[in-house]
Amino acid sequence: MICKDIKNLIPLYYYEELEDEEFAAVREHLASCEACGKELESVERVLKGVTVPEAPDFPEEFWSQNAAEIMRRVRKHPVSTPAAGRSMSRFAIPLWAAAAAVILFLFIMRVDTEPEPHAVSEQSGVEMPILNDIDLEDIEITLGIEGIEEKIDNLKGSPSLDDFDSGFARALDTIENSIDGFFMEFELIDPWGIDENGSV
């Protein structure tokens, strides 16, 4: 292996992420090459200086409050289907009747119950359109990336710009990673690109 290749592999060598043969080849080269040895030393110095942060020690009260806050949110989650055999609440009959009355009223009044086409973003407070239609061709997907359609489908009807941003950003990440991965595979084979004969 030449120095150019070794230097590319030094981070993986440091993290012991090389296959056995590659690891041995790099170690053998480092034993005899001063320049690459110094490169390893500089990488080691920097990475050992990146200390892993340890969470502070908190008193029991902190954890009690933390758990209570989590459970407060969990208990607000929509109630699942009641277990079979439970008797109806004494309030259930009036509520059922009220629900039926509302439905009847809406039917009579022909109220448009289609969801509002806009929603207020929790993040910016700005009214934003709900995405109900995304044309994949607009995104110009040319690599036939699997899963992107499903990811975008999951965005449809999302009422929150946060959801859109997060989900769409993840979708674009997928595209970018696939594109990067496509070209990066070539880089791994030849860090300087395709050779003069056009071969990899």
Partner: protein, 170 residues
């Protein structure tokens, strides 16, 4: 929600919250964001508990949820910093939170800034390898990218950090 379901999940929260917080803290670097990420992770775990296939330990499954919640929060935090200034009532992330050592060295802050300043994917890969100790294969599985891509991101991240931090006495 039925009392039984809530009680059972509360037990899970009490058992796992400290470890979850440690993971989130390593990735995010501050108490405020770590707490937010952990809360988000538990909510996601609760909502998707029916999707758990049992093909891995619960702790492994939840560990991945915590990692992704932390990376998502870091991503949103980066977008917010780029597009919008932090809301005035939000505590500056770089300041120590409750229980944190107010004497965090300037060098550590410089190092953390260098890591946080990496391009998003390089940062994610580096955090998961260096701080969480995940293998290249595990990182690929967590982030949904090929192992070769993970290696490239890791190489570039280390190269960038070396360039940025070589002048400091670490």
């Amino acid at each position: 929600m039925s009392r039984d379901k809530a009680d059972a999940f509360e037990g899970f929260v009490l058992d796992c919250q400290q470890k979850a917080f440690s993971v989130a803290y390593r990735i995010l670097g501050n108490v405020h964001d770590a707490r937010d990420a952990v809360q988000e992770a538990f909510m996601k775990a609760f909502k998707s508990r029916g999707d758990f296939r049992g093909d891995a330990a619960v702790t492994t499954w939840f560990h991945r949820i915590v990692i992704n919640a932390s990376l998502d929060l870091m991503r949103r935090r980066s977008i917010r910093r780029t597009v919008d200034e932090m809301p005035p009532d939000r505590v500056d992330d770089s300041r120590p939170g409750p229980g944190e050592n107010a004497g965090i060295s300037e060098t550590r802050q410089i190092v953390r800034s260098a890591v946080d300043g990496l391009p998003e994917r390089q940062r994610d890969v580096f955090l998961l390898r260096h701080f969480e100790g995940l293998s290249v294969r595990e990182i690929g599985g967590t982030l949904g990218i090929a192992e070769g891509t993970v290696k490239i991101h890791l190489f570039r991240a280390v190269h960038s950090l070396k360039e940025d931090l070589s002048g400091y006495d670490l």
